[in-house]
Structure formats: structure tokens, C-alpha cells
């Protein structure tokens, strides 16, 4: 019987050795390790042996069974790995082919610029004006009179205004500053507002100038607001927008609705102040107009200039976007050429 077991063991191990695939393994399992296997038949015959032989042969039979099982398991694992590798190899794809194109849109570079600028000011407590406080079609009252433009004064030529046939006093606004007046008429200080919007100028269209563009207006009115605060807030803005290392300078200018008034230059981002074509050799780029709100403007909206002071500023979005992205033709923004838009 022992001999018979040895033969079975040798045969089984040989078959395991020669197994090629998982089907062969399954057949071996059935033949040698299942309930109906040869081995099991021998175990069933144990009862016919003498009590002395029984444990010896029984132990030997178990040993054989374990041996076969171990061999089968090892072989099975090897075949699984081999087959898996074959399968993986057969599933090879070209991973350098482009991915499936789930479409992705882009936000317009001007909107991106506005969003960035507005969020910087939101961080300093500025609230975006209500839509109805920033109309593009305006009366002369909001575009000029309430902003302290003297009647029949050359200051009105600072912007080439579009007058309309709607009425002699109805114009397309040349600046977002009217939003200051609308807001101050409806809200009382303390005020800290930011108002992005579209403005119009009666100019011929060229690479440098368009007859409409976007501005961002800012206004702060409160007790104890000073020119130093104006400088502080705008320095913070330029620091965040242009980066730490970009110096600014505040130079005297004139706007009817601010006094004192300033224009703010940032060191040329192209030549870093050395002088180049972009900055007309000056080393500086003008980016902002600003000043302390003129007492006449405050009086006009019923805010007492002896109690409150404020500052206001305005900047051109296209100009800032053009500088930042090295765009040399303003018309690109409005052509909506997908080859342009997809770059941002």
C-alpha cells in the first residue's frame, strides 16, 4: 500500500510539473485532492489494515496528500502569474495617444483680469457695486456734473464722449466714476466699493485704442480717510498684482472729481525701469488714476465733507491685461478668435 502511495505521489508530482495552464491544474486537483480522488480511495481502504499499520500508512497518506497539495498550490500560483502576465501583455494600449476630449471651456482673459483685481480689493473689504448702480448709458449729470466737471470746461475733453440721439444729456459713459455717485446716493458711509464695468470713448479703433473698454472703479468714504491710506491701499494692490519687487510712484495729476489727484505708475514690467518701447523710454507704466474725493462731490450727494473724507481710483482692465499677457492689439479681446482665447 505504501508503495502504491509512493507511485501515486510520484505520478501526481510529475503531472503537476508538466501542468501548462489552470485547466490542467483543475484536472490534477480533481484526480488527487478531491473527495473522489485516488488518494481518498486509499484513505478509505485504511480500515482494512492492521491496527499497527493503520497509523503509519495513514500518516504517510496524509504526508503524500500534503506534498501534492503544496506542489499544486505552488504550480497554480505560478500559472496564475504567467497567465496574468499574458493577459496584461495582450491588453497593452498606446498610452501616448491623446486622452478622450471631454470639452473644457475658458474664461475670457478680460474676465480673468477683472476677477483677479476685484478679489484683491475684496480682500481689503471692498464690496462690488450693485448692477443697477453702474449703468453704461448715463446722463451728463452722473458722468460730469455730479463729478464736479465744470460746465463748458476743457476737462470734458479728457474723454471723447459719445453723445446719443436719445436726448442731449444722454451719453455713453466715458468712465466708471458715475458708479461712485449712484452708490453714494443710495448708501451712506462708511463705504468701500469696487465697480468693474464697460466704458465708451469716441475714438477711432486701432491696435492701441478701442471705442469701448473696461474700467474698475474704487471708492472709499469714511471718517479719517487720508491720501496716505490711498497710497497704502493701492500699494497693496500693485504688490499683489505685479509682485513684491515692482516699485510704484505717485505723480500729481488732475481729475475734476478728486483733489489732490494722482496718477500711479508701476515700474515697467518689460524693461524693469531701464526704458523700452513699451514704456516710451520712461521706465514707468501708467496704470491707475486716483485721488481724494473732491469735497464738491461729497456735498453733491449729501455727505458732509467736514465729517467725511474719501479716496477714489480707476484703472483700465485691457491695459493691465495687455501688460500682463504681452498682448499688443486691443482688438484681440473682442474678436473672440478661439486660437487667442484658448491660450489663457
Amino acid at each position: 500500500m505504501q508503495k502504491q502511495l509512493e507511485e501515486i505521489c510520484a505520478k501526481a508530482l510529475n503531472e503537476v510539473e508538466n501542468a501548462q495552464n489552470s485547466a490542467d491544474i483543475d484536472a490534477i486537483k480533481l484526480e488527487y485532492l478531491s473527495r473522489k480522488s485516488v488518494l481518498n480511495n486509499i484513505k478509505k481502504g485504511l480500515k482494512d489494515l492492521t491496527p499497527e499499520q493503520r497509523p503509519i500508512v495513514g500518516a504517510f497518506a496524509n504526508e503524500v496528500a500534503q506534498k501534492i497539495e503544496q506542489a499544486v498550490n505552488e504550480k497554480e500560483q505560478a500559472i496564475y502569474e504567467k497567465e496574468l502576465n499574458e493577459k496584461l501583455e495582450s491588453e497593452r494600449i498606446d498610452i501616448t495617444l491623446p486622452g478622450r476630449n471631454i470639452p473644457m471651456g475658458k474664461i475670457h482673459p478680460l474676465t480673468q483680469t477683472v476677477d483677479e483685481i476685484v478679489s484683491i480689493f475684496q480682500g481689503m473689504g471692498f464690496t462690488i457695486t450693485d448692477n443697477e448702480n453702474s449703468p453704461e448709458v448715463e446722463t451728463e449729470y452722473y458722468n460730469f456734473d455730479a463729478l464736479n466737471f465744470p460746465k463748458d470746461h476743457p476737462a470734458k475733453d479728457m474723454q471723447d464722449t459719445f453723445y446719443t440721439k436719445v436726448a442731449p444729456n444722454v451719453i455713453l459713459r466715458g468712465q466708471t466714476s458715475g458708479a461712485q455717485i449712484h452708490t453714494m446716493e443710495t448708501k451712506k458711509p462708511p463705504l468701500r466699493i469696487i465697480s468693474p464695468g464697460r466704458v465708451y470713448r469716441c475714438e477711432s479703433v486701432s491696435a492701441r485704442k478701442n471705442n469701448l473698454f473696461h474700467q474698475i472703479e474704487g471708492l472709499v468714504v469714511d471718517k479719517n480717510i487720508t491720501f496716505a491710506d490711498l497710497k497704502g491701499v493701492l500699494n497693496e494692490f500693485t504688490r499683489i498684482y505685479f509682485g513684491e519687487a515692482r516699485p510704484t510712484r505717485f505723480r500729481t495729476s488732475f481729475f475734476p472729481f478728486t483733489e489732490p489727484s494722482a496718477e500711479i505708475d508701476v515700474q515697467c514690467i518689460m524693461c524693469k525701469g531701464k526704458g523700452c518701447k513699451v514704456c516710451s523710454q520712461t521706465g514707468w507704466l501708467e496704470i491707475l488714476g486716483a485721488g481724494m474725493v473732491d469735497p464738491n462731490v461729497l456735498k453733491g450727494v449729501g455727505i458732509d465733507p467736514d465729517v467725511y473724507t474719501g479716496f477714489a481710483f480707476g484703472m483700465g482692465v485691457e491695459r493691465l491685461a495687455m501688460l500682463k499677457h504681452a498682448i499688443c492689439d486691443i482688438r484681440m479681446f473682442f474678436n473672440n478668435d478661439i486660437r487667442f482665447l484658448e491660450q489663457f
Partner: protein, 819 residues
Amino acid sequence: MQISLEWLNEYVDIKDLSPEEIAHGLTMSGLEVEDIEKTGAKFTNIKTVEIQKIDNHPNADKLHLVTVFDGTNHRQVVCGAQNIEVGQVVPYASVGSKVLDRKTGEQFELTPAVIRGVESQGMLCSDDELGVADLKLQEEDGILILNRIFKDVKLGSDVKDVLNLQEDTVLTVAPTANRGDEMSVVGIAIEVATIFSRELKFSKMTCANEVKAKDFELKIDEDVCKYYALAILKDLKIAPSPAWMQRRLLASGVRAISNIVDITNYVMLEYGQPLHAFDFDKLNGYIEVRRAKKSEKLVTLDGEERELNNNSVLISEKDKGICLAGVMGGENSEIDDNTVNVALEAAFFPPATTRRSSKSVGLRSEASARFERGVDMEMVKPALCRAIQLLIELCDAKFEGITETGSNELPEQLITLRYAQIKRYLGLEIPEDTCISILESLGFKLCGKNQLAARFSVPGFRAVDVTREIDLIEEIARIHGYDKIAPTLPDKTIAAEVKKEDLLIKKLHYLLLGKGFYEAMTSSLIGKPLYNWAGIEYDEEKNVEVCYSQSEDYCMLRQSMIPSLLNIIKYNFDNGSKNLMFFEQGKIYTKEEPTTEKSTGVKQRRILCGLVTGKTNTSQWQQTEDVDFYTIKGVIENIFEELKLTQRVLYSPCEDVKYLHPKRSANAVVLGKNKAPVARFGELHPIFRDRLKFNQNVYLFEIDLDALLENVNYNAVLCKELPVYPEVTRDIAFKVKNDVSYQDLAKSIKKLTSPNLFNGADIFDVYQGEHVEEGYKSVAFHIYLQDKTQTLTDEIVDSEINKLKEGLKKYYPSVSFRE
């Protein structure tokens, strides 16, 4: 405006300052310097020579051998110019001289040269080789012929002296609209003297032995002229003005004409006071300043006949106008070559009326630019005296006297400066002494002071722009320097309000972005050509049209976004992009209500619109699919879903919109207080598509954002508990007549199912064709049932589905179920 530093130096000592320092000082304190140009000779060692002999070059047809003589020596040069003749006096550069390269404009030093085998002892020069082409001394190309322009030119003289080129620097400055005083040399000298703490070398001119002119009557309308003076000068000798004056005029960008005209221009540039010279013999002893009558005409100096109106201000004789006051003279009284007697006008025309007058004829001049900004009333007479002095000196004029009317005295204007206000506005304390010395240097007179305040009187040349304490504070701030004010931040923290509406709009933009839409930005200023091209009509009555535009392409605000959208498609199709998804949030504008002083009556509505065309998937190697009506409808549904409005939206056919396919377009209405459609969308009408030559279908949507947002509920979403018991799905399939819409069926299914069990229904098949008779369609729905309180049994589900089927049959007699 251009200013010569050589001229400026006459009034304030600036020799030790570099032009860049001066420019920086002026720019920072408010007079922006736009350009610094060094003038003077760009060449060295060029002498005048006479051409004595011209021979042909032995080896070249187009070259000559020219013998020239400088008064001492003869030289021979090779020259290729065609305009030379014997006897001409021309510029000659010898070896070692520096001239400009004709092509590059760079200066180079002349070296010995052998040209085609013949030695050239230097060269003859053209105007661009000398860098004087700008002076336009001669029209023809070639060598500059000096004796044609300068009759008495001597041989061997330095051409720099002949051409009167002297070293100078010219600044181009841009005075701001409030600063008329900076439109003069003296005005800028005051600024420079203050900025650099120097002495101003200027005192007002008065007339020595002034007499009253006889036999001349003046009359003024004080609304349009406050003061008018006329000086009579006789026996003038008209001639070119002296070189120094011509040079200064040229540096200021003014062409020299003759001594009389040049003197009026010179004094205007110097003092900022425009003057006008009449030919005395063309006048008849009476001058009046008045408003023009309607349709009155005047031929101005430029030869144009101008039609005037009530806003135009005229200098007039009894029967005719002779000058547009403060703007431009009339042809009928102008100075000409035969003028011997002159009436010289100096007047104060107020800013506003001069501006209206200038606008009434659409004519601007150096004079009107100054009057509009405001000239110094107290400088009118001194300017006249300065001109008289120059006329006597340079034209041998005989001064007959002055006649004047009106008042040239300004009422004293006093402003109190409280020191505390300086700190209040600037956030910086500036010492009292500094404040006072700045203002005094700028021409303000200290009239009294105590510990808290000082009082100043305003000089005439600042009477227009400095009227209040805040104006004085600005003067102090700009001279003291904005850079001395240390930045601070407002001492209060204020929280920015974030509006729910703004957040929601952003959310919609990002939704569209995620769907693959590009954001577009189109011009809101459009014109008839675009409307016509697009085939879109607009309402003339409600149109917002501009009065004057550079182009008919930009003359009105749009009433519709559609033309702009179609234009985006055309632009990109033309550039080879065929698969497009764009959205834009823009405004449309219509005149709806009457205009008042403060209200335009124009409505501006926010529109969210977009387009899709081409393939949904633009990958080259994978399957792609054409977009269709349902692509764009999906986007619209997403938007309503994002706004939590899906349950309240009804879609209806949109057959009345011209640009949309009548059978493949829809209106979306949000049920609520306002039943007007908030959106419409669909396929571009084939007629439009063909006319615009689009080779593929285009789908558009337009959402009235303002109307849409009115329907939005901003309340926070409350979370629903997730169900414990499972959902059961049953499918039903049936045939029904074609004209029954999905929307109706879906509504009916919801209505026919018990509300406590109904958990939604999805259509998953719509079929027409084989096995379905003409006029019918086969549809199939998944019906979802769920009970919050128990697991549903088959019996309950079966009975629910049967009830639904019975109901559908009743609602739609054409329904027949497939089992």
C-alpha cells in the same frame, strides 16, 4: 506743448540742472513731460563752399567730379547728386567731419575715400545727412543749396551758424485741463522755480509813456468779453524776425512767418496771452465784441467760410465780422505783405463762452486752447506792452497809443488754510513754514496768519483752478512731494459684502465652462451693417444711437446679442475653426421711458447667451458626434437645475422668432408670478444659415438673465433624508400619436402615480419607423417607485403600474401598450 529750456533759462536759472532732472521734477508735480528732445547740430565741421567746376567722373556715368572753393582752398570731391550747378553755395564735409548716414541716421566720421578710382577730398551734404530734413529748407532731393535760402551766405562759414542751429533741449509737456497757466514759458518757469527752490527772474512789463489812442471806438458785450484793449502801431517794416526769435518759435513748434505775426505768437507762448494783429488800414475806427447772429458768416484766416450761430463770439465792425474772438482772425482784416499800420488786440474772453464759440464752428486753435482753460486777467495788459516793446524794437513801429474798455482787475480772492486740514487730507504733517514758502513761491500772497491758519490771496494766473482750501492743500502736497507721504491702510476693518446674485452668476459661468463653453466678449457698440448682415431687425424708436461716430460699424448700442454671436461664428469659421462652443454675458439697451435730468430712460438688460456648432468631441482619432437641438437643450436644463428651477420650467414651441428654425426651437417659461419666457434656444433658421454661408448647423440660446434671476429662490437647500427601503423600477412601453409631447406624457405619468410612491420617470426610448405605423411613435419609460415606510411588494407595484396604464389610455386614446 513744446518748451525750450534755453528760453526757460531766461526766467529761471536752470543751467546746472539736467533736462532729465527738470523733466522728472515737472512730471512728479503735475506737468507730465512726454518727450525730451535735444536739438542743435548733429554734425561737426561742415563749411560753406562754392561749386566752381563740375566734370564727369571718368569711370562712372552718374558721378561727377566737383571742384569747390571755401574762400582759401580748392578741393575736389566725387558727388552723385543731380541738382548741383556751378555757382551754388553748398555744405562741405572734409575728412574728419561728422555727418549722418542717410539710411540709418547714425552719425559717422568721414574717412579718406577713393570712389571708382578717383580720390574724393570729402563730400557735399544733403539735408538728411545734416539731420535738418525736418526744417524743410528745400523740396528737391540732393545737395542742400544754401545760397538759395540764405542770400548773403559767406564762403568758409560754419554751416551750424548759417542754419542757426544752437544747442537746446525741448520738452514736450502735457498741461492738465485745469492749468491754463502752464501753457506759457513764464508759467512753467514759476513751477520750475518752486520745484527747485530758485528765484524767478520775471516782472510784469508795463508800457513806457502810454498814451490813449485817438479816434477809435470800442464796445463789448461783457458776457463774452470782460476786457478789450487795442494798441495802434504805425509805419511798421515787415521782415523776417530775428534768428533768436525764429529759433525759439521753431523749438515751440510754431512756424516763423513774419516779424509782426511772429511777435504775437512769441508773446502768446511766453506770457500765455493770445494776441491778434489786425491790419489797421482795413479797419474803420469802430470795434465791437458781440455774439454772432444766426447764419452770420465769416471767412477765417485759413480761408474757410464759417457759418456762425448765437454761441459764436465775433469781433465786429459796424457792418461785418472781422475775427472769431479768441479763436481765429478773419481774412478781411489780416496782416499781409503790404501792411504798414497795425491794431493789436489783447483781450480777456471768458473760458466757457470761448469754448462754446470754438465748438460752434468746430475750430480749435492755440489761442482758444488758452482762453478755454482761462488766461490771467492781470496779464492781458502786460502781454500787450511786451508785444508793443518788441514791435518797436524789431519792426521800427511807431506806437500811437492804446484804447481799452471793460475791466482787467480781478477781485481779490482770499483763501484760509487751516493747518489741521493738511494732516486730515494727506495723513502727513507739513511744517507751516514749508507750506507758506511753497505757496509764496507759486505766486500766492500771504495776507495774515496765526497759530492755526494762514490766509492767502490767489494770483491772477491761478484764479480759475485754485478757489478753495483743498486746492491749496493740493498745491502744497504736489510740491512737497507725494513720495513724502508714507503709505498707511485705513484703520478700520470692513467686511466685503458678497452678493448671492453675483455668486450665482459666477456659478452659471463655471457651469458653462465645465460644459466646454468659451467665454466671449463682443462689442456692445454695433452698427447697421452688422444688423443687416445678420438679418436681425431692431426697433428704431427704442434705439440708442450715438450722435457722432468714427464709423457706421459702431454707431448704436445693440438691442440683441444675436448679430454679435453670429459674427463670432463667422470669424472663427473664416479662420478654420469649425467646432465652437461660446457663451457671453452681455447687455442689450433699449429706450423705454422719457429722459429726465438724472434718468436716461434707457433700459439695460443682462443677457446670457451662447452658441454651439460642429462636433461635441473634437478628438481626431475617436468617435465624434454632431451637436444638435438636444445638446443645447441639455445646457439649458443644466442651468435651470443649477438654479433649482427644473420643476417650474415649461418648454413650448418658439415659432415667432425669425432667426430660429420654427420646428426646432423652444421657449422656456418659469412658472411663477411672471410667465414671460426667460430663455429661447434652438437651431439657426436654415434661411439664415444659407444666407450667412454657414456650412453646418448652428444652435443658439438666449437667456434673459434679469428675468431668470427674479425667479431664483436664494434660500439655502435643506438636506433630505436618504431612503431606507429600496426603490423599484418598472418599464412601460407604448405607442402613441406623434403629436403627444414628452413634456405632456411626463406630466401625466407623475399625475397618475400615487404621490407617496412616485420617485420619478425617465424616458429611455423614442422610436419611429418599421413596426410603428405612420403618425405614431413608440416610447418607453422607466418608472421609479419607492415607499418611505416599507419595502414595496409585487402586488402594490403591479396595481400602481396598472392604474398608471389605465390612466394613460384614458388621457390619450391613441395609446396602446406593448406587453
